[in-house]
Symmetry: D2
Subunit: 340 residues, 4 copies
Amino acid sequence: MNNYSGRQLVGVAGFRGYSGAELIRILSRHPHVEAVLLEHRSDSEERVAPLGRKPAKEIPAKVEAIRQEGLQAVFLATPVEVSLQMAPELIEAGIRVIDLSGAFRLGDAETYSQWYRERHTAPELLQHAVYGLPEFYRDRIRGARLLANPGCYPTAANLAIRPLIDAQVADRGRGIICDAKSGVSGAGKKASLATSFCEVAGNFRAYGILDHRHVPEVLQNSGLGERELTFTAHLLPVERGILETIYLRTVRVEKAVDLLSIFEEAYGEEPFIRLYAPGKTPDLHGVLHTNFCDIGFVFDSDSQRAVIVAAIDNLGKGAAGQAVQNMNLMLGFDETAGLL
Amino acid sequence: MNNYSGRQLVGVAGFRGYSGAELIRILSRHPHVEAVLLEHRSDSEERVAPLGRKPAKEIPAKVEAIRQEGLQAVFLATPVEVSLQMAPELIEAGIRVIDLSGAFRLGDAETYSQWYRERHTAPELLQHAVYGLPEFYRDRIRGARLLANPGCYPTAANLAIRPLIDAQVADRGRGIICDAKSGVSGAGKKASLATSFCEVAGNFRAYGILDHRHVPEVLQNSGLGERELTFTAHLLPVERGILETIYLRTVRVEKAVDLLSIFEEAYGEEPFIRLYAPGKTPDLHGVLHTNFCDIGFVFDSDSQRAVIVAAIDNLGKGAAGQAVQNMNLMLGFDETAGLL
Amino acid sequence: MNNYSGRQLVGVAGFRGYSGAELIRILSRHPHVEAVLLEHRSDSEERVAPLGRKPAKEIPAKVEAIRQEGLQAVFLATPVEVSLQMAPELIEAGIRVIDLSGAFRLGDAETYSQWYRERHTAPELLQHAVYGLPEFYRDRIRGARLLANPGCYPTAANLAIRPLIDAQVADRGRGIICDAKSGVSGAGKKASLATSFCEVAGNFRAYGILDHRHVPEVLQNSGLGERELTFTAHLLPVERGILETIYLRTVRVEKAVDLLSIFEEAYGEEPFIRLYAPGKTPDLHGVLHTNFCDIGFVFDSDSQRAVIVAAIDNLGKGAAGQAVQNMNLMLGFDETAGLL
Amino acid sequence: MNNYSGRQLVGVAGFRGYSGAELIRILSRHPHVEAVLLEHRSDSEERVAPLGRKPAKEIPAKVEAIRQEGLQAVFLATPVEVSLQMAPELIEAGIRVIDLSGAFRLGDAETYSQWYRERHTAPELLQHAVYGLPEFYRDRIRGARLLANPGCYPTAANLAIRPLIDAQVADRGRGIICDAKSGVSGAGKKASLATSFCEVAGNFRAYGILDHRHVPEVLQNSGLGERELTFTAHLLPVERGILETIYLRTVRVEKAVDLLSIFEEAYGEEPFIRLYAPGKTPDLHGVLHTNFCDIGFVFDSDSQRAVIVAAIDNLGKGAAGQAVQNMNLMLGFDETAGLL
């Protein structure tokens, strides 16, 4: 069902969170869809806002209301508990779901409960969920009813590592190190001492060392074994952005340009991957407020050491941007609509 | 009672907050006293700390324990509710109290309840409380049993304005504007969305416009009437520091050096006031981690406009530093002990 | 002359600076124009950039080249010296100029040389230059050949103050105070110790007290006399954004809603002014990366004191955004094209 | 020679830089020495300072003046060129030198010229220079005439890695990765676009990948070969602090506590090394404004992977703090004087 302007309607649950608000911003510039806010009764945050600006339409975050409104798809920018409850009902009602939580990213319920420390309450949906990394699963995404939007860290890691795995030039036996750094919005909007200004500003720390729930997501999509990948997250004193520095040894790579060729073959036509000349690496500023993943590397052929740097906006390609890219594929729009 | 090293013992309640932690830091370098932590049972914050470092001694925040330990004085770096409960008991037990909350700063219970929106539960103590601004009340502070440590904003405002009021060169009728900006630690350590990193970083906003509870504290100590002072607070994206830009018209001031003379007469011997040459004004960096209040101004004799800039560290001269300065006076130490 | 896509071509000189880069970003989303980079030979900054992305077209910043390329208008996001040299040549060649420097904002050469400390080398153009504040000079802007884009501080100040001046409710005799705070990009991109990270982060300071070159720009457009306006600039530790806190006394204003009515009458139909309910004031986050000016206030009818808070993005409504708004008017496009 | 207060005099060249200013701050609290500023005629930075505060004594940065003043030692917080010129003259004149530049850290002139891209002009001094890492070279430091104060990155790296190398539990063949992040003051005070606020705030980037001049300093002191260590530097948007995340595989380590034992044996009595319980790692805040190096780790015995996190203040243990620690050893004071 369309709205009066001929644009299709899509819903956004969790629109007050950082990913949800970013979704609203992106969708407000989208040529083919219009966002409807799905309100949870428990939300009560009062926001100082200008007078007289027409806000987006709000309806209750209930299946009946959503169905009645004729929404084509619903984004769940919600905690896993809420996603686990809403997704089955929406799918049942024939409404496409793009879930930004971690609820449907892992392939089986057991791995889920191991890393998320709770039982998965909709295990039957896991096999139908499509992992939304368009660069590798574009065709499946087009037909998805339930899309699991990738985590922010795994998006950058998979995009940086997988071409080398697929081309069989990574020395997996020696291990791949992913030293990842993220801005604070990745932790969500819930107030906590750990993300308060005075604790974060002028500070920097590691967390989730050898124990981060995003690891199985990388393993599952890269084919790496648990001991082949060492992942560490760090909290940067910035609002947004992820930069990952990845260390690996290559086999059978003669020159830096050969490594570049592998990336170019994998991503030559990709609209949202930008490669850098060998020896150049991206920074956060270049990707903020975009859906790009920037990838650069330094390579030492003598020692076969490669240091790859990948940068994304954790709210862009790491969440809302990629979710809209996936929606574009699912609803048959141009993949870049609203994103360039 | 002394500890083995010959230093006197003083207690710190609320030592996990920002002012309390700053007190511990300052006292650890103090030549004559040693801090004892006063633990509230409800505290449970786990802090990652290095192994094997001797922590400060901890005892319960109870009058019996405090008396038994022989503490000479107790700092209350606690919320007003806790101060209102602990201060009467400690005073009753003959222990000096230095209260960093706002509980005892205002002269009467009615003004208190008007601004703090709750009834004052120990009104009989208000007349005995001494307002701890040493530059103006040094003698009374020496004999204080209950010391009300000034608020951070009023400290800078009073120090910047009062010499001109006392010298009768401020045109009170035209009004004095105090545009104040504070770092985030001034809001305390309690987690809230308003002080979370993502809301504060890259942001700036005014608050408490024409309605800030620090206003009556300035009026009471400067003698200004309610309509003579306009005060606005702002939240700076920095951890600590307050800078106030104060606008007033003077009467009978011929030259900038005459204005400087008034400040020099008021503060010539003061160890913690630093004056700047006319036309020069201080910044935050110069006062961070110190007990100084830096004051500079620009003066236009033609229009009799004076713009005064005062800077303090809100955790230093604005809280813990000034509290130690007051303790030094109360316990008969050199006023600057531990503070330079 | 149009490019192949039917869009008109406009040039941007100084595209490597912060305002220039913002212009490029805004114009890249503009439906009717396409930006051409005007290269100065002295520019040599090497920028790490992704491979294989089609950059904007570059031509020399020379009148012949600009004329040959058929540019409809040229943005000068350049230092005053460069603007003073290029603007006359471009005007002479019949090309519209939108100048973001301060070269043509002041009405006469004498005031210019007093504040900019150098002689104006194109005084004959000053009377033809149109001051580009669309909310007050829309009609004249439509016909402008040389547009003087307003300074960042004056934009917010004029928009906040002028409706009250025009409605004659400001007590000018008592003086208006404008306490302004700006992000660092307002100082331009030239490296200097004063804008280096270590000097700015965690810091805050006032500058230009009673002596800022933006003052005459406010006076000229508000009609205020020199002694009626006191302006102070401050450097905020943020990348972008300006917030001004303005203090004045009103005459004949009964209630806060009456003050709001004055603003609503002035700006009711304005696409880029957003008003807040009385008692609510804007913050920086709300205006970043937009062309909005947000205005809120607190009013005390008893004392007739009004505290007005205005916020803009100094690179948006304070520079590049407003420049595009002016271009839209000058070239006959919808005023909001590319800006919402 | 002593000053009137019985304290020995030491000189500081380069006192306007960040390391030099930190030296002045630390020495101002030192019980046994007093700092004299060594002025270079080319210095001209005007600093807004309070009136009437007794500044430190200043003398020309000339050997005759330094000798005449009777300085016991001179800190060179200067660029390598200045250190290369002053150090030989001072040594010749019998004055102890503590050099904070990189001029005398590397063992031979050839390695120096390879990494610092210029010829070493005082190669004969290299064999006499003592590398100032007290935890490993304490005895030699006591007798040093020319002390090469370690670089900031190598200090943290060597302290974190070397106990494991010495205990032969690091699998050197698999390579050690050091992913290092530093605050901006590490780049010095010279204004540059790369360290300007707008380029650094909200940003993060890697630099010196597989090519950082601090690498040979780590190799030389850890005994690692060039291919055994992979080092990457990153620029954090903070003023100060270094955190390094180090990845290695161990051999013959059964449990995390065994790894802790190795660190405890190496550092049990060290006053400036703080160890964390296994599984806990330090952050920057804990070491700022201190001379501590905090070390923690996470260990997975199954895969023998160890992730070690080391944190220092780059201006503390990474520069000025360690320089004072070295001075204390050289002049026979308590090693911790002025540093706790």
